[in-house]
């Protein structure tokens, strides 16, 4: 049906070949087309991702043996700081929303662009500026920041390293994130195609919507907090410095009031991607659409009220500890609702084991492990035991990398034909999935064991009894990197030489698959009229045996 329509439609250049206002590179860096901006984000984000991966690999290499392996302790401190800042502020927060949100949101809701196209371009420029500032701080005299990505006072006020550029980088990146969120909320409210009611929106859009609200409402807090640290460093104004009566614990509260909701900015779009990919490859309507949609909103809401579980050991009243622990447990309910609904969607589906689904399946398992260890950390008694150990590091890498990271890999493979108009080779992609999954688990699972035994995080040196686990993890990091490289090469080759993709290679039912691959510059000739929900696979469900 869809094909017949696209044959009738007049031949039209895709957005890569459509005439643009500017030429050459200016056609990209000055473009207000959401698709071009999405690709700009993709390229810059991948650059930062591989930089931070390199730092991570070096850190693992350093931990291969106790004492010095390759770098000095101070260098190691700057490594984990930069790894954290880049991964969090430049990769995982903007990752899925800025790349796939930008590219897909207007297509998914049947719009020609986002509501504020110029603001969208400004967001990317701010992102680039912030990223470059973070990188420049490495090469300025004084050396890169060594505070950890959390910038805890009073150390961040006193250290002589380049904390200022790092603070301003985070501030500017926050601004970029706010503008993206503001743009998405307005777009979703005002630009849905006729008939695209709230409950006909694809679930990825729901997750972007919840994320965008958190971006708008939580980010200003980190902005003002980092600004205060900067002012304190620069002018010596007494705000957080205990020598002048300031309260460093207050800093930690303010920091986590943003940074915990930020965790949901990182994971929610990943959960949305899973809800998007599963029904397509299970050939089934998603199970419990409204529950998944509302669970995104519930996660955003409750997740904004749990920040102090990062601070159970810094000194708080028992009442506060109980409340924050209870709320933390509460977040697991909407998260579990999602996981159960995904499994129920797969049940009795006609599963097509394509590459995007493989990544999503790994993601579900790893996200569940990450979520479960998160519950353990939310329990007061266990938290006291494992605070600031590798257990915590293992937990958040399972959620962030095992969850969001794998969802992002799934999203890249899923939307690759739509974005680039070409197919990737399946075999190398499957090999990369195997290596990345094995490497990831080999790298981070030992962290749980080590952490539970008492290996502290961020330490340069360790007792010999931990060495077998460290060796295991370091070897895992090599497998992981091999997998990532195969994936990257496979996709880069496919951009140039892949077989041309049809409009709808996976059999998706959402609106982006109704336009050609890559989409035309205006997305839709005529704004489509939506008459059905997003995952209508009733043709598979109603004819169970006769069909085949």
């Amino acid at each position: 049906m869809v094909k017949a329509e696209s044959l009738v439609a007049p031949v039209e250049p895709d957005f890569y070949h459509a005439p643009t206002k500017h030429r050459g590179i200016l056609a990209w860096i000055l473009s207000t087309d959401h698709k071009r901006i999405g690709i700009l984000y993709l390229i810059t984000m991948l650059f930062f991702f591989f930089t931070a991966v390199a730092l991570g690999v070096l850190m693992r290499l350093e931990m291969l043996t106790p004492g010095k392996t390759i770098v000095e302790p101070q260098t190691y401190n700057t490594f984990f700081t930069l790894h954290g800042i880049i991964m969090i502020f430049l990769f995982i927060i903007p990752g899925i929303p800025a790349v796939f949100g930008n590219f897909m949101l207007p297509l998914l809701i049947g719009a020609k662009d986002v509501f504020f196209p110029r603001l969208n371009l400004l967001s990317w420029w701010l992102f680039l500026t912030g990223g470059l500032l973070a990188l420049v701080s490495v090469f300025l005299p004084g050396g890169p920041a060594d505070t950890g990505w959390t910038f805890y006072v009073p150390y961040s006020i006193r250290t002589s390293t380049n904390v200022m550029p790092a603070l301003f980088a985070a501030f500017i990146l926050g601004f970029s994130s706010i503008l993206t969120g503001l743009n998405f909320v307005t777009t979703i409210h005002r630009m849905r195609a006729p008939g695209m009611t709230w409950f006909r929106m694809p679930l990825f859009v729901w997750s972007l919507y919840a994320t965008a609200w958190v971006q708008v409402l939580a980010t200003p807090i980190i902005g003002i907090t980092l600004l205060l640290v900067a002012l304190e460093r620069f002018f010596g104004i007494g705000i957080f410095d205990p020598a002048m009566g300031g309260d460093p614990v207050l800093y930690q509260h303010l920091f986590w009031i943003y940074s915990h909701p930020a965790v949901y900015i990182m994971i929610l779009p990943g959960l949305g991607v899973v809800s998007e990919i599963l029904p397509v490859f299970a050939r089934r309507t998603i199970f419990g659409y409204k529950f998944i949609a509302f669970s995104s909103v519930a996660i955003a809401l409750v997740g904004s009220l749990v920040w102090a579980h990062h601070m159970f050991t810094v000194g708080m009243s028992n009442t506060a500890m109980f409340i924050f622990s209870f709320l933390t447990f509460l977040v697991s309910i909407p998260s579990a609702i999602k996981v159960f609904n995904w499994i129920a969607t797969l049940y009795k589906g006609s599963i097509a084991l394509e590459v995007p689904l493989l990544f999503v399946l790994s993601m579900i398992v790893q996200f569940s492990i990450g979520g479960f260890t998160g519950l353990m950390l939310g329990a007061l008694a266990i938290n006291i035991h494992v605070t600031d150990t590798y257990f915590v590091v293992g937990h958040f890498h399972y959620v962030m990398f095992g969850g969001t990271g794998f969802a992002l890999f799934g999203a890249i493979h899923y939307w690759f034909p739509k974005i680039f108009g070409r197919m990737f080779a399946k075999k190398p992609a499957v090999i990369s999935w195997i290596l990345v999954t094995i490497g990831f688990n080999a790298l981070y699972f030992p962290f749980f064991v080590m952490g539970y035994m008492g290996m502290p995080r961020r330490y340069y040196d360790y007792l010999p009894q931990f060495q077998p686990y460290h060796i295991f993890a370091t070897v895992g990091s090599w497998i992981l990197v091999a997998g990532l490289l195969i994936m990257a090469i496979n996709l880069i080759v496919a951009v140039r030489r892949g077989a041309p993709a049809t409009a709808n290679p996976w059999g998706g039912k959402t609106l982006e698959w109704t336009v050609s691959s890559p989409p035309p510059a205006e997305n839709f000739h005529e704004i489509p009229v939506v008459t059905k929900g997003p995952y209508d696979y009733s043709e598979y469900e109603e004819t169970p045996l006769e069909a085949t």
């Binding site: 207000t32 196209p117 708008v216 807090i221 010596g236 002048m244």
Partner: protein, 209 residues
Amino acid sequence: MNAQVQAAVPVHEHHRDDVGTKIGMWLFLFTELILFGGLFIVYAVYRFKHPAEFQLAAKELDTFVGTANTIILLTSSLTVAMSITSIQEGRKRLSMLLVALTILLALAFLVNKYFEWSHKFSLGLYPQSPELLNKPQGEILYFGLYYVMTGLHALHVIIGMIVLAFMVVFIARGTINQRSFVKLEAGGLYWHLVDIIWIFLFPLFYLLH
């Protein structure tokens, strides 16, 4: 030739949606409120910890200057609101005049602020001054917050003046006119935000002593 290229460029059709524009503006205002909200939290915590010293330090501020600035800002909110009404009635010149008057009032606010700050400096009350460092910790925190919060607010006043200056240009060029004035409304909203933040800063620093 040029016209042809222009025609071939896919123009995103300019559907006007003033409601959407205002939604975007309100979201931005939320972020500004939360930005200052963080500062209000810090203020609340430190005031709770050092009530007596905060009261003592507040006596150093000049209530008269603060009141004058409050009146100036409230008046400027009135003028910017009136400018929107005038453009709706098609009185372009009056509208421009009222926005210009708003900018002048903002300038008056800043001049006042300048004299107020320099007076504090001459008394030796500035960050890291020996005079201030000798005072109890609660007072150091009070003056730290005073400079940060009124300083950040003053920065918003300056940004607001720049925004309003653009509004004058837009009205002059006719970009903002009787039928399309959502830009002026957005600019006005921003100015009201600057105003309302001051409405909270004023009692917290000048009146609670």
